[in-house]
């Protein structure tokens, strides 16, 4: 009897699922199934991107790659370093200080007087040919062209030839924007005002005869500065553009008279002016003054002989413990003489080689299991 009754009930007992459904009273199972079959809107996209399964390159810097790589790089660097060093060594440089600190130095009298256009001269002798092309630099030290106030003290709009800025220079030029009687200064600002105004002429003495060495002042400034960034106002004559303005306080002559002989080198596009206006990065710097014109005797540079530099000494540097010098140098493909690069390449190149050797030893000793 017991068994029979059990049989009856077991046949009809509601499944656990059903009774739960009833209890919850929610969506019936069959409805849910239908819903599931129609792709759910909530289902996240199964794309490589969303699942963070984008194909990826997983490089590993293994010794097998790094050691040969280091050797190659090291050798290449050593090669470049040697080339650089050789090139740098081949560059001839002649530096002559003419500040006039010591009593014996040729310009000492000029450095102590405040005479305008004080003349002095430097003599030097070349035993061998100074290979051309030869560049003639002047150098200043302890001179802070990179001082912030100094560097900001100019008016690019003025220098771009915009006449409206002639009469009202930018306030950043202060205190070099207006002179004592409130006349606007053109070009305004400390940089322009402090333009280097020593001049040099180079002569060669060959068998008693002095021969002036031709100096070329063209193309010493950046091409873009000369052609684009700096412009004279399109007023002819140029002088008229400067009506109502005054020259910078420390200048001997106004901007439109910087080079009266050559209109394309006058005013704001004067090459010396442009060179000066490009501020040096560090307090000890050199700027290009002239190139030795490669013509006649100077085709191949400065031939051996005795030379004299006649200096018009105007620029005071001793007040701030500065120094002035003239520099003759030729250049190579890498620019002026600079041993740093060559040494750096050699050092780093050998470092690479040494490191690859060290790595090789390390790897040989402790062979890491996952390296092939």
């Amino acid at each position: 009897m017991f068994r029979v009754s059990v049989l009856q009930t077991t046949d009809v007992i509601p499944s656990k699922e059903k009774s739960r459904c009833g209890r919850v009273g929610g969506v019936s199972r069959s409805e849910k199934m239908v819903k599931q079959e129609s792709e759910s809107a909530n289902r996240p996209d199964n794309t490589a991107f969303t699942q963070q399964r984008l194909p990826a390159w997983q490089p590993i810097l293994s010794a097998g790659i790094v050691i040969p790589g280091f050797v190659l790089i090291g050798l290449a660097f050593i090669g470049i370093g040697v080339a650089l060093l050789v090139t740098s060594r081949s560059i001839q440089v002649l530096e002559l200080d003419y500040t006039g600190d010591g009593n014996g130095s040729p310009c000492s009298s000029c450095s102590q007087s405040t005479t305008v256009n004080c003349k002095c001269s430097l003599n030097f002798t070349l035993d061998t040919l100074f290979q051309g092309p030869v560049f003639f630099y002047y150098g200043l030290s302890n001179y802070f062209q990179n001082y912030r106030r100094y560097g900001a003290s100019k008016d690019d709009n003025q220098l771009y030839g915009d006449l409206s800025y002639f009469t009202s220079p930018s306030s950043s030029c202060s205190p070099y924007d207006y002179d004592g009687s409130k006349n606007p200064i053109v070009p305004c600002g400390s940089i322009a005002n402090s333009m280097f105004n020593d001049t040099f002429t180079l002569t060669r003495t060959v068998s008693g005869k002095t021969d002036s060495v031709p100096l070329d002042g063209k193309g010493i400034a950046w091409w873009t500065d000369y052609n684009v960034k700096y412009r004279n106002p399109s007023v002819t004559p140029l002088k008229n553009a400067f009506n109502g303005t005054v020259k910078p306080i420390d200048w001997a002559k106004p901007a439109y008279e910087l080079d009266t002989s050559d209109a394309s080198n006058n005013g704001f596009v004067n090459q010396d002016f442009l060179v000066w206006m490009r501020r040096a990065a560090l307090p000890n710097f050199r700027k290009l003054y002239r190139r030795i014109d490669a013509s006649g005797d100077y085709q191949n540079g400065l031939p051996a002989g005795n030379y004299t530099i006649d200096i018009t000494y105007n620029y005071p540097v001793r007040v701030f413990n500065g120094a002035k010098k003239v520099v003759f140098s030729n250049v190579s493909w890498m620019g002026g003489k600079n041993e740093f690069l060559g040494i750096a390449y050699l050092v780093i190149g050998s470092l690479c080689v040494v490191m690859s050797v060290v790595m090789l030893i390390v790897y040989a000793k402790f062979k890491f299991p996952d390296e092939e």
Binding site: V6, S19, N146, D156, N157, S172, L288, G335, I348, F368
Partner: protein, 1107 residues
Amino acid sequence: MLRRRLNRWFGGEDRRVDSRTIYVGHRPCPANEVFIPPKFCDNRIVSSKYTVWNFLPKNLFEQFRRIANFYFLIIFLVQVRASFVCMPTQTVISDIIFFKIRTSWLPLVFLTVLICSQGYEDWLRHKADNEVNKYRVTVLEDGRRIQKESEKIKVGDVLEVDEDETFPCDLILLQSSRDDGTCFVTTASLDGESNHKTHYTVPDTERDVESLNATIECEQPQPDLYKFVGRMHIYKNNEEPTLRSLGPENLLLKGATLKNTQSICGVAVYTGMETKMALNYQGKSQKRSVVEKSINAFLLVYLCILVSKALVCTTLKYVWQSKPGQDEPWYNEKTLKEKETNRYLNMFTDFLSFMVLFNFIIPVSMYVTVEMQKFLGSFFISWDKDFFDSEIEEGALVNTSDLNEELGQVEYVFTDKTGTLTQNNMEFIECCIDGHQYKYRDASSEVDGFCVTDGPMNTVQQKAGRVSVVEREELFLRALCLCHTVQVDGLMVDGQVVPPLQEQRGFIASSPDEIALVQGAMRYGFTFLGLESKTMKILNRTNDVEMYELLHVLNFDPVRRRMSVIVRSISGETLLFCKGADSSIFPRVKQEEVEKIRMHVERNATDGYRTLCVAYKHLTPEEYDQVDSGLREARLALQDREEKLMAVYNQVETGMNLIGATAVEDRLQEEAAETMEALQGAGIKVWVLTGDKMETAKSTCYACRLFKRNTELLELTVRTLEYPGKRREDRLHDLLLEYHKKTVQDGVGGNSLTKNNINGATLSMVLNSSSENNLHDYKDLFLQICQNCTSVLCCRMAPLQKAQIVKMVKNSKGSPITLSVGDGANDVSMILEAHVGIGIKGKEGRQAVRNSDYAIPKLKHLKKLLLAHGHLYYVRIAHLVQYFFYKNLCFILPQFLYQFFCGCSQQPLYDAAYLTMYNICFTSMPILAYSLFEQHISIEMLLENATLYRQIGKNAMLRWGPFLYWTLLGVFHGLVFFFGVWFLFSNPALQDNGQAFGNWSYGTIVFTILVFTVTLKLALDTRHWTWINHFVIWGSLAFYVFFSFFWGGVIWPFLRQQRLYFVFANMLSSVSAWLVIIVLILLSLLPEILYVVLRKPRGPYARQVVL
């Protein structure tokens, strides 16, 4: 605090501070001479943080508590002030002004957006509050029904609530539309229990709510959801007032929902912020990740670096200027104003200018990038198809993207049991009657539903031959059918024999095991038909309806761990059926029956089933009368009611006869055990915090392999505390010391696999003891013990206690990162409390999900969330942060060094465009791509090797060691960049036409090396090159080159200074510049390459070589 204040206000009026008196319907009562309408707070719920008035100050204060925001404000003010007021700094500003002002506005804009978004969030909260507060409720006033806004409910109002409505405040149930004076309530949103609970009306009030004249005296509001003590004085026409006791079964909580009852009437006792729900609600505070804290620490370091840099430069400037001829050389005169300004003011403005110049060291853009990374990165979680659960048709949900990386730092996981570890889906597995095991099998395989699998008389014939066995079986099944508080859902036909085949029959009960038991009995032929006006009906095997009068229910409670019913059968027999945990039943039954059953129970428990023992007892009429009066008396007591009840219960439930035992399986969530094992493998300690009974919780823990057979269990429960001759406190103290000795002192050796379990009552003793007992700080002891156990189980936890536990661990030494997982509303407080709160999208209730930081459909998803996503996010963001600091350090260091060569004049090394674009365009995209796509270890590997998770534990990548490494790297790079170029510029004639380079060329060369080096450094760190990484890394380098050409190639009409005009192109025309760039990049990266190569490959999880 509110309560205290309330007490202070009414302390004079109330005789007893601990209770409040409520006048039902505000009707004065005859007993009281004067009717003073008491003041209580109104029914407004305020979850919003701000009001219109305090929003701005309060929010700004919150914002500026973040160091970064405060710093940005200062810098912004400095710049604005500097450019408008202070002339001397104006030039430096004007250098940078064009872009810089815009960039310093950037954080301000960022801040504004933040404030606006928080304002919006709060507005939403206001709206939600309003929705609750303005909800229309029906108030019965002087016999009329008045619609009122919910917030206007006052204590004492009589309310009417309809089916499926939520109670607007805590109510005492006065009248129910059901004729048995009950109503059904679901408290899913309060404690997570989704089943229907029965609440009872106060006797004698049902009939005449409108004219009811009564006062209620009850305790002051307290957060415990399950406790309520009060009494009601009912006055009837000058009669002596009747006294009715009120208990939690009479109290309807705000937030609970009325079910299966048409409508009820109730009187408001607690309103607004005094309701139990509001008292249990913990404000959602903004969670901050450990990474953010590291960022703040690093930020402070960098601020110090910044300030000291500025100080050094200012000092040097004045030292330098004091040398003759340096202060004001003829070529660089000061302006009139500069000369006139006070020297010290000048110093100060110089200092500020340096601050402005170097402030790029503090990466504003890092905050933007971090925010973007978090925001975009969190999509990968919600997009992950592994988190998609086809059953609920939902994937993971990210509520906070701020905590992605915190998922990789978790040290403690606090998990709820019911619904989280288990499915909360009970199934009757087997039973044991008189020592015989009956296992239910599917009818299809076995004709006999009952299959006896052991015992001496295991054949059906023999059994049938012994009538007593059948009787015992039937008694057992009747006991199962009667001893419960299950309600039958659905219509009942009065008195009719309902066909036994109700397929859709549903049961409602406060505990799912009860349903399982009743269903189990149904399978064996005894169907419970329902309870109707105190009569329980059972359909027995012969399809007869048996009727029993329900006399008393001796409710379940965690201390007794059993429940009983007293019923009277038709024949007049009074029977007591009791079911409960073995440990609580065995001592109360005749001992000779125990041994037969104990074996089964123990084996079942070992299998992870929940076991219950069933016993019965005949009560003689005298006995019954005694019990009856005892119970009635105890129920009316206002004080110590529970103790008194307990005493009566204990007295009745003795000398019973054991019939059998049941085994119910609480099925675990899918892969619960695997997940727990993985978490433990990852070095995460798992604590189970459950409101459930200890036995069930323990069996669950065994089932999901949190507890293992051979490990020692340290128990700390009320039972273990009951020790003859000792106060509980002393015993607790002894036990704690003993366990402490076991775990902390000796535990280091072999005994590391101890588990602990604690129950709620003990916990509150532990937590509250420190005030009582100054000598021994139990909390510390307890914490130390727990932290030395591999897993901890805490049972019988109230929601707030769960939070307390989390808080305790959170604030312990080393402030470990905690994570809480839960699915119900009872887990909300712990979800909010933990560093990371995870909500399981259970079948019922969204409370946990809404309050969580992340929500996942199933527990098993926790594994991938932590081990894969958490790990990757942590590595990504840690690298992002370190990289950002590094790249800004080596960005600004050359600028700092340059000050030594320009007379400390605040001359910027780089052009303003570069200064601005560096962080925004040139170097930000590659790191962003890295921080989104990097997989230094593949996801599969991370999932397979849980131990990998330990490597990044304790914020490994953002500690001071790695920070120092990155800082030194930045310094090294900065030095290389600057001095490499400095040596080169010893002869500035770098072009083959003899022309010289100026300061902007210098800066541009340095900047080019910088951009390439930091980008290539990142490329070296990238282990997972997707096409996006390729695109972005090479793309941003190309963009840099392109931009430099473009920027230097045009005379920009809006720029006053064309200082970069053609500088870049000119630089590229110089072979030396090329050479120096190449050599310096290589030099900078050499140590990094060496480090990568020589670093020991990492064992089994080394990346696979795909070349």
